[in-house]
């Protein structure tokens, strides 16, 4: 379980990183925290010629707080968020999610951008940031573009990152003070990848009611207007049948699998609406 031979570069600026990434006849892998890439290298499931470590690039570790959003560089670690070393615009929601990711050793090194780009359907940020309505800032040779998380994650382990492009930062919108949030995941043990995730954001001031069902076989299911799940604007009754139908429509055929996802979302809803 030792990786095949590869070259390693740790560029100091974004331009150099993009240049390395554009190198011809070289398969490159980007290393942000290495918590997914490390095992893949060790198991020789990926055998790149070049590993580009992006953690020394200032843009990648930047933190910018705007009036209505927060920008976190891709290499901000889960522990940075958990420990409050970066500002929070989510009333503590992101700190709670970060604190529940894997184990502390993983959180010390694992990064928000790396986790999104690995796009494991069971990973926390994939679902949580979709529910929070976050966006990713992508940088390529042609400049930058911004995508909603649910447009970025397009399938299991699949993103819309183009060849030569890097995830540079994540933009998280500021929640209203009165926003209600719940994030529930079902794991068999602490630190394990989730088997079901339910996330709910109800932000009446911003006229938002969003639900996410995560840890499916593919990208998270984002229900942008989740009011119908609760029987209309102000009702608090969770409609499990509707959630079940949504999962069935999304291709989840196993009824027990649907059951745990529906229950997980229902429990998140109960927390958010209590």
């Amino acid at each position: 379980m030792k990786p095949a031979r590869f070259d390693y570069e740790r560029p100091r600026d974004l331009g150099a990183a993009l240049e390395l990434l554009a190198g011809e006849n070289v398969t490159a892998k980007v290393l942000a925290g290495g918590q997914s890439l490390g095992p893949l290298l060790n198991l020789r499931l990926v055998q790149p010629d070049l590993v580009i470590d992006i953690t020394a690039i200032p843009e990648m570790i930047r933190v910018e707080q705007g009036v209505d959003h927060l920008v976190l560089g891709a290499c901000i670690t889960h522990a940075d968020i958990e420990d409050g070393r970066v500002p929070d615009v989510t009333n503590g929601a992101m700190r709670d999610v970060a604190a529940g990711i894997a184990y502390r050793a993983v959180r010390n090194r694992g990064t928000i951008g790396g986790s999104l780009t690995s796009a494991d359907p069971s990973a926390d940020w994939v679902s949580a940031l979709a529910a929070l309505g976050a966006e990713v800032v992508l940088r390529g040779p042609g400049g930058t573009r911004t995508l909603a998380i649910d447009d970025y994650i397009i399938g299991a382990l699949e993103t819309s990152l183009a060849t030569g492009e890097l995830l540079e930062a994540v933009r998280i919108p500021r929640l209203s003070k009165t926003a209600r949030w719940a994030y529930v995941k079902k794991c068999r043990k602490t630190g394990e990848f989730a088997h079901a995730i339910g996330a709910i954001l109800v932000d009446r001031d911003r006229n938002l009611c969003r639900a996410v069902i995560g840890a499916t076989e593919s990208r998270p299911i984002v229900i942008s207007d989740a009011r119908e799940l609760f029987g209309g604007a102000d009702a608090k009754e969770f409609d499990g049948r509707m959630a079940d139908r949504i999962l069935l429509d999304a291709g989840m055929t196993d009824p027990l699998d649907r059951q745990i996802h529906v229950v997980t979302l229902r429990r998140a809803a109960a927390q958010a609406l209590q």
Partner: protein, 785 residues
């Protein structure tokens, strides 16, 4: 000075080193010129090797079976009638029989480079149909793991004691049960460094091993080397659990290689190798019927059991290790009159079955305790009441049970009563009726077992396996400065022997524990021993150390009497001193005089000196029977299938506890592993025999948050045949949790009519059982309508 002898709660001597990260494991060893080995392993479960093509530039770095001329295969035979032997080639010859079987050895300056070489080899194989399920392997049209056998059965065993007497019992409960294949997963995997010393003409093998002398036997046999030319050193070992009580083909390969090449070589098992290629234990299948009267009195047990033994018979415990034991230990701590049991040790295309803490007992306890709960539900009694009706009673002790096991001592009903008394059962029953506010279902479950440990010559001679324990030996030697060195052939990898054996010696010689050094894990420094296995060290090594120290006390008396100018017959040894009517002399002074001031001793002093190796065996060596009752309260979430352990109580009897803290630690560790068996650990396979969990992301082990602190209670009914009344308890913690937790889950689910009959109890299995119960009820309702 606080008491340091038997029964003292001393902190461990070894912890200063181990807790500071200063332990020395095989992986820490650096020898000049050492190179790393990686193995090319079989990618398929069953196949014939057509060719192994090595790129020309690596010709000198790759070795296959064709190169290992004269190296003998590993052969672990049992003399039990009908046993079919297997030859396990150290590198595959012609055929491979499991995924991960060693095919070629690659050597390079680093492991990564050795893996590069392994990846460059082209292995051409003809894939054969594989069988990875033990029941399928019994069917007549199954592929054969060893063609010349004609079937896939290593060994069939059978016992029948008046089973027909039970057939008219009014109550009968039959259950089909399964336990999944597990991997033992010690923190440190296997690890080997082999080095040839041309001056000594000796092979030194550093290996993470529980039984260094047995490894030496096996190495010498397979490599045709004199035993004197082989030294096995097992430094600090990061957990054994049975997994390291085995002769490894890797050890033989590396030994051969260092002899060929002259430089040291190393192989460190990685976790993927551990999970997919090497570790295999616990997989049983039972069809068990209990017969009872309406008052819960057990009339008989009838059982057919299969044990998946994998592809080869491992050295030294053999492939019948578990299956043969099932017959004799299935009756558990119960007294009943009719018994029949048939077992099969089945060969499959999986890596060989190896011992794991609790060997066979964990599965057996799961089988009988589950079916006893089924009886309790049938007769409408509390499970503990049914057990109290059937447990061997203290006044029957010592008791020869239905399979002629000699239960040495104990009060089984008392252990059970204490475990149940730790819960408020009426309140729990009321809560169950009321239902929990969060919608979960709670249930209480219990399990009781007795564990034969430290079993000796007669038991193993009966099995006729390559390793039969005789007199356990220990060397005690006073040093010139009044310290004491103890040399034992057992090893310590979590057992705390550096502390507890020192306590035993202190009890007899009075030397301070801080001045006692325990030397283990080196065949050149320690007397021969079968090593550490079978919950035997406290009894056997403890007894041996006590015997050797008594001999030292006798010798000290002879020298001390001279110094006191007293008649040897008139002196006694007390509290570390030789005492006469007129004075006393301490053992440190006696040692100093013997070694450093011999001129102070008369010429006719006894010449035996202050170093003695003595063998020990209890007068009755059929084993100690420690026992424990486990009881637990769990909550089952019927919507998502999660099981939470709310409370867990263990009442155990280890006889005299040499160090109660160490015993607690052993129980905690075993209990954690038992929770793994009950709720998490499972190696799944696909239809081609491919193991599907190759990392800990897929093979789940319980972590700290999954192992709630149990409440422990000790009984100390002294063992009648051992040195201080101690009993072997090392494995016990791992035996009962699957049974107790399963019974608790089934107690919780009884209102839904659902029952779990397989370990581990996963959320998916809980939901499936509930769904199956619902559809059955719906079906019944349909029929009724």
């Amino acid at each position: 000075m606080a008491d340091q002898g038997i029964g003292a709660r001393l902190t461990r001597k070894e912890d200063d080193r181990l807790m500071r990260g200063r332990g020395q494991y095989v992986g820490d060893i650096r020898l000049a010129g050492m190179q790393d080995v990686a193995f090319l392993r079989s990618p398929i479960a069953h196949g014939r090797i057509r060719s192994i093509a090595v790129p020309p530039q690596f010709k000198d770095a790759v070795f296959t079976a064709a190169d290992l001329k004269g190296v003998k295969p590993i052969r672990a035979v049992s003399s039990l009638p009908g046993f079919k032997a297997s030859d396990q080639p150290v590198l595959a010859t012609n055929k491979v029989r499991h995924v991960g079987e060693l095919v070629a050895m690659c050597v390079a300056p680093t492991r990564a480079e050795a893996e590069d070489i392994a990846a460059s080899i082209t292995l051409d194989m003809e894939e054969l149909p594989a069988v990875h399920d033990m029941l399928a392997a019994r069917s007549p049209d199954s592929p054969l793991v060893h063609e010349h056998w004609g079937d896939n059965v290593f060994l069939e065993t059978f016992a029948n004691v008046d089973i027909a007497k039970a057939f008219d019992a009014p109550i009968k409960a039959t259950r089909e049960l399964r336990t999944s294949r597990q991997a033992m997963s010690p923190m440190e995997g296997r690890a080997v460094v082999a080095a040839w010393d041309s001056r000594l003409e000796q092979l030194t093998v550093y290996t993470a091993a529980q039984m260094p002398h047995i490894n030496r036997n096996g190495l010498s046999e397979c490599l045709s080397l004199d035993q004197a030319a082989v030294r096995v050193i097992s430094p600090d070992v990061g957990g054994g659990f049975g997994y390291k009580g085995i002769l490894l083909p890797e050890e033989i390969c590396l030994s051969w290689l260092t002899i060929q090449r002259g430089h040291p070589v190393r192989w460190i098992e990685d976790r993927r190798e551990h999970l997919t290629a090497s570790a295999n234990c616990r997989e049983h299948h039972y069809v068990i019927t209990a017969y009872a009267d309406r008052d819960g009195r057990l009339r008989g047990i009838d059982c057919e059991a299969h044990v998946d033994s994998g592809s080869y018979s491992s050295y030294p415990f053999s492939a019948c290790l578990e299956a043969a034991q099932v017959v004799s230990i299935l009756p558990g701590p119960y007294d009943f009159e009719a018994y029949r049991c048939r077992t099969w040790a089945v060969a499959t295309n999986k890596c060989p079955i190896l011992p794991y803490r609790g060997v066979a007992r964990t599965g057996v306890c799961f089988a009988i305790e589950t079916v006893l709960d089924a009886i309790a539900r049938e007769v409408g009694m509390e499970p503990y009441e049914v057990r109290l009706k059937n447990l061997v009673r203290p006044e029957q002790m010592p008791f020869d049970n239905i399979t002629k096991k000699h239960f040495d001592s104990g009060d089984y009903p008392e252990a059970l009563r204490r475990a149940i008394a730790a819960f408020d059962l009426p309140v729990i029953r009321e809560r169950q009726q009321r239902g929990e506010p969060d919608g979960r279902l709670i249930g209480v479950g219990l399990a009781i077992y007795c564990e034969q440990g430290s079993h000796g010559t007669a038991v193993y001679a009966g099995w006729g396996v390559p390793m039969i324990p005789g007199h356990e030996q220990a060397t005690a030697r006073m040093t010139p400065d009044g310290g004491l060195e103890l040399r034992v052939g057992v090893h310590s990898h979590g057992q705390s022997l550096e502390t507890t054996l020192a306590q035993v010696a202190h009890e007899i010689l009075g030397v301070e524990v801080a001045r006692i050094r325990v030397v283990l894990g080196d065949t050149a420094l320690t007397p021969y021993s079968t090593g550490t296995w079978g919950s035997r060290c406290a009894v056997m090594a403890g007894g041996a150390v006590a015997s050797a120290c008594r001999e030292i006390a006798e010798r000290a008396k002879l020298i001390g009497a001279k110094l006191l100018q007293a008649d040897a017959a008139s002196v006694s040894f007390r509290d570390g001193s030789v005492v006469s009517a007129s004075g006393d002399v301490g053992i440190a002074d006696i040692a100093r005089t013997w070694y450093l001031r011999p001129q102070d001793l008369p010429g006719d002093v006894n010449r035996g000196g202050l170093e003695a190796t003595v063998g020990y065996k209890p007068p009755v060596d059929s084993g100690t029977f420690s026992y424990a009752a486990h009881a637990t309260l769990v909550a089952v979430d019927p919507e998502i299938g999660d099981v939470e352990i709310l409370d867990y109580v263990i009442v155990e009897d280890g006889g005299k506890l040499i160090n109660p803290m160490v015993v607690d630690g052993q129980i905690y560790g075993g209990y954690a592993q038992g929770i793994g068996t009950a709720l998490y650990e499972e190696m799944p396979f696909d239809s081609a025999g491919q193991p599907l969990a190759s990392t800990f992301a897929d093979y789940l082990l319980p972590g700290p948050t999954e192992v709630p602190a149990p409440r422990l209670d000790h009984m100390e009914v002294l063992a009648p045949y051992t040195e201080f009344g101690q009993k072997g308890i090392g494995e016990g913690g791992a035996i009962a949790p699957p049974a107790a937790i399963t019974n608790a889950v089934n107690d919780a689910l009884k209102y839904l009519g659902a029952e779990l009959l397989i370990s581990p109890i996963t959320p998916g299995r809980v939901l499936e059982a509930i769904a199956a119960a619902k559809s059955k009820q719906a079906e019944r309702a349909g029929v009724a309508a």
